[in-house]
Amino acid sequence: MISSWRTTARWWCDTWFAPLAPRYLAAVRIGAGLVAFIHFVALLISGNELLGPNGWFDVDAGRYLIGNEVAGTGSVYRWSPLYRYPGSVSSFAGLGLLASLATIAGIGSRLAPLLAWICLCTFQQRAPLLTLLYEPLLVALMAYLIVEPGRTTWSIKPGLSSGEPRSSVRITRNLIVCHFWIWIAFSLCSMLANPVWWNGQAAWQLMQPAGGWLPNSEGWQWLGQWLTHWVIVTQAAILFCMLHSPLQWLGRWMTYLFLLAVLLLLGDWMYASILLVASLAVWPIPIPRQKTLPS
């Protein structure tokens, strides 16, 4: 009994605290920074029109929909400054843009992802119901990168800190992996709760809006049914492969197939991108070891 506890404790420590080289997080940091950069560019262009004074979604509507001053809604914890200063949308978007650029470049250590995360939260807390598919994952990745941005690889100033393996890199990577697994699991569960994902109609419904990438005439219903099953099977396979390390290669290909379905059915580049970035923590691409710069 005691030995099995010891074995479990050892396994836990190896899984979560064994040092890992920071280069394993480089691709995730750069990818999340890029997605955040595009997000803030869009907010810089249209944020004021959406959330500014007289925007599509004004402060009154925002306050009502977070259940302002209604017990149990937790509206008091929505700290976004945009409720009080709706005219500062562009300032926060600009600050977020700079922070995401710094995150990509690896400048500013933990401060860059921290600032980017604050700016992302500022917008999400202002309009939580207008959150798009990719945004919760982007905020989560940025929050985990505050713990450890893995800043020494592929950055402008690689000599900022040591590239030695450390436990914080492993913790951050595992948090992203667990979050990705939970996300895919609930994506699959919520789909399976809807009959259209069983009877093959889901993808067909998504193919219907005019101007999409896929044919939507009646004769193509079989394609909709294939795609519906494809989405379900790939997600189930991703979850299974993540739990079985010998199946890494299969998991990686299933992820690519799932992302292809996201692009074909939703046409959502940002969602596909952030899923790809998160999956890079699960199945890292081979990254060359960085040469040490002469001091």
Partner: protein, 200 residues
Amino acid sequence: MSLPRQICISTLLIMHLVFIVLTYATNWRRSSLEDKVLVSMQPYLIGLNWYQEMLPIEWVSENYKPGGVRITIENANAPNSWTSILDLTSSHSARSKIERVIHVSSELASAEDLQGLTCLLKSVVLHLEKGRSPNAPIVTRIRLEKVVNANATDNATSDATGDVLYEASLARFPSGEFGFIPKVESHRSVRANEAIGVNP
């Protein structure tokens, strides 16, 4: 890393992941126990933005399909002509967020939360009328409808092309404010005991 530190970090990690699972699970179905835990953990979950109301994981909603619902307005300058608010968007990057506004409107309509729906529609009308453009429309009527014929969504139409979820005329007050007068559905009649002057 020292053992006490490992124990502390492990406890925090497990708690965090449990709360994430709980948050995602309760977006779907929720027990009263889960609700109590969520409410007590709101400072952490909402304060650090882990909590997601209406988490958009599901691609196909029961009440909403992309392009399946639209908000149209009637402009005073073009009576009996309805224009989709998506066609009045100047910024392409705002389009996906406005589609989300329409999604939330349809969810509010199906939940029969008229106060929330009118609050949202009021914000839309205020935006359209107070835009900087000199050609800003003057909204006389607003309609939320499910589109039956998706191909008919692109053009302004005089009639609803699908099921009307909500329709209202705008009543203007001298103060400059406005209110919504919902259109009474044609199939709904006044019950005998609700009619004025009739004793039950």
